[in-house]
């Protein structure tokens, strides 16, 4: 796999409204190899979803504007292809699973028809084939074929999310963008759905970008991890690198803020990160994290922050990377 599968370079997205300029994504770069899963981890408003949407070119414009950067998918720059070609890529090659399964499905169409519709759109429109494929997909995600004719309201939350996954995977995409796919689900159902996604991705050699705020889910699903803060990737590396040697103060803060499940630890108090996430219409100068950072010094308050490579593949955007 020497050829790069997905390569995002210096992506910059802003939301421009009459009152403010929201700096949503500020220079994000990452690569993804075929068959791997990358976790984008960050808190609400960090820009994770915007990154995924700009890969699919589905940002609402206006107010969103891609100010710079490039996305190369299988050697093709998606910002240079025509909209017609892009539509073929969406669904055929790249699909997205949205967070809320309740609103992602059409309430007046049976779930089977919804899957078949997507298949027909991308496989030339043979209705019979599409229907067979839809039945096959339902069974793949663990829903009996008899339920083809049922409507979304007859399904529970977990079942709906399975249908959404079936739609996303119906055309064997090469890349799956999953935006908090299990956040709305209960833990036992989440376990079922994650298990299913992992199995299907392995079987079809699908790559995935998994957007989540749950480090536990990342630990279960991902090969690589990128931590997003205020529209920047402040640390990225392999799962082991990030979980065993978190280097950015923010990454450390995230782990510290989690209540521990380990038995032996004296965990009387949690260690939250001080302060609040920055306002994306008015970001701090220098390192965006410096107002909340316990290690911040003068050099952090102004000027660009270097990206240091701590180990092969493990980068950290911090003056003090490797020292703290």
């Amino acid at each position: 796999m020497s050829e790069k599968f997905l390569s995002v370079k210096d992506l910059n997205d802003h939301y421009i409204t009459s009152e403010a300029d929201v700096w949503a994504v500020n220079g994000v770069s990452f690569d993804l190899e075929r068959g791997k899963t990358l976790g984008l981890v960050g808190e609400t408003g960090a820009g994770k979803t915007t990154i995924a949407r700009s890969i699919l070119k589905i940002l609402p414009n206006p107010p969103a504007k891609v100010l710079g950067g490039s996305v190369e998918f299988e050697g093709k720059s998606i910002y240079e292809v025509s909209e017609a070609e892009m539509q073929k890529i969406r669904g055929d090659k790249i699909t997205m699973i949205f967070q809320d399964p309740m609103t992602a499905l059409n309430p007046v169409m049976t779930v089977g028809e919804q899957i078949a519709e997507v298949v027909a759109l991308h496989n030339g429109g043979n209705k019979e084939d599409a229907k067979n494929r839809a039945v096959e997909m339902l069974e793949t995600v663990g829903i009996p074929a008899e339920r083809y004719v049922e409507y979304p309201h007859q399904f529970s939350g977990g079942m709906k999310q399975r249908v959404v996954i079936a739609i996303a995977l119906a055309c064997n995409p090469d890349l799956l963008l999953a935006d908090e796919p299990t956040t709305a689900l209960d833990v036992t159902i989440q376990a079922q759905v994650l298990d299913l996604m992992r199995e299907l991705n392995r079987k079809n050699d699908t790559s995935m970008i998994l957007i989540t705020h749950d480090l536990g889910v990342v630990a279960e699903m991902c090969d690589d991890v990128a931590i997003v803060y205020a529209g920047q990737i402040i640390e990225k590396g392999s799962l082991e690198q990030i979980f065993d040697h978190p280097s950015h103060p923010y990454t450390n803060g995230l782990f510290g803020a989690l209540p521990s499940m380990k038995d032996d630890e004296d965990d009387d108090r949690l260690h939250p990160i001080a302060g609040m996430p920055p306002d994306p219409t008015n970001l701090p100068t220098g390192c965006y994290f410096h107002p909340r950072c316990p290690y911040a010094t003068e050099e952090c308050k102004n000027g660009p922050v270097p990206v240091k490579e701590l180990a092969p593949g493990h980068t950290c955007m911090c003056h003090k990377a490797g020292e703290v």
């Binding site: 009152e19 403010a20 306002d279 219409t281």
Partner: protein, 297 residues
């Protein structure tokens, strides 16, 4: 995102807050040009109603049979009616009656409707059932027939027409309020209010109505135009505002029989009603947004 606010000294708090809110309201209103246009037109209408006697070129009751049926000209910019009265002067004076009628009828209907709707929505159960069935009965009667029936009972004239129109608006307002209340009743802050020992009255007045109100505001303003229109129908049948009161609806129905030959007798009162309704609707739309602190951004 938080807005920096001045630290207010304890004693001046309420004053500062009120000024703040009013100022913020106008600031937000100003960002909506349509609302400003509506407000300006509405203000002009109110002013011309107040200063009708000063502006009006003729006495609105003065008849002049020799100048009857005149088309609009520099002398009579809106023409004259069948007895030679200047339509423009009559419109100006009529604004007093029409605006008062529309606004008072709307307020009366909506206040009563809001009360009924709030009670039904908040208490639910039997209260809701009884009130809503009564409203069903009222609404099953065609609007005009209901107006006629009420007018027959209470009588005719300007003030009585307001009451007739008000009663006609109760059912619609009550239904709308109830729907909004039902939505807001599910919010956790209502539960929170009851568990922090707010009385039912306080929950309705302080928590439910202010939040349900803004959604009703636009429909409420539309009621002003509706009342003026309905009152003209009633006037036409002789059960509304009585001639020679130059109420716009009465003028409109008065001119209807001359519609084909002397259309200005209908066109100008009709336009006056249209402009008023449009201005109020534009303003109502903008006001709903400006009143909602959530829509500041």
């Amino acid at each position: 995102m938080t807005e920096e606010k001045k630290n207010v000294v304890a004693g001046n708090e309420n004053v500062a807050k009120k000024e703040n809110q009013l100022f913020a309201f106008f600031k937000r209103l100003r960002q909506r040009p349509a609302a400003v246009v509506g407000l300006v037109i509405f203000a002009i209408l109110i002013l011309s109603a107040i200063f009708a006697n000063v502006i009006a070129p003729y006495n609105y009751t003065e008849t002049n049979v020799r100048e009857a049926y005149q088309a609009p000209s520099w002398k009579h910019i809106c023409g004259t009616d069948q007895v030679g009265r200047d339509i423009f002067s009559r419109l100006l004076v009529g604004a007093r009656y029409s605006l008062t009628l529309g606004i008072l009828a709307m307020l009366l209907g909506n206040l009563a409707g809001m009360l009924v709707g709030s009670l039904a929505g908040y208490f639910g159960g039997v209260v809701d059932e009884v009130l809503m069935r009564i409203l069903d009965v009222i609404q099953s009667i065609p609007g005009m027939v209901l107006n006629l029936a009420v007018a027959c009972v209470i009588g005719v004239g300007f003030w009585k027409t307001i009451i007739v129109m008000g009663i006609g608006g109760v059912a619609g307002a009550a239904r709308m309020m109830r729907a909004n209340i039902l939505k807001i009743r599910e919010m956790e802050y209502i539960e929170a209010a009851s568990v922090t020992n707010c009385s039912n009255a306080k929950i309705i007045v302080k928590h439910l109505i202010p939040n349900a109100f803004s959604a009703s505001l636009v429909q409420m303003t539309m009621g002003v135009g509706g009342s003026i229109m309905a009152a003209s129908g009633l006037a036409y049948l002789g059960l509304g505002v009585q001639p020679p009161t130059p109420e716009w609806g009465a003028m409109l129905s008065d001119g209807r029989q001359y519609l084909t030959k002397f259309p200005w007798m209908c066109i100008f009162p009709g336009m006056a009603i249209m402009i008023t309704v449009l201005a109020i609707n534009l303003f109502g739309d903008g006001m709903r947004d400006a009143l909602d602190p959530r829509l500041k951004k």
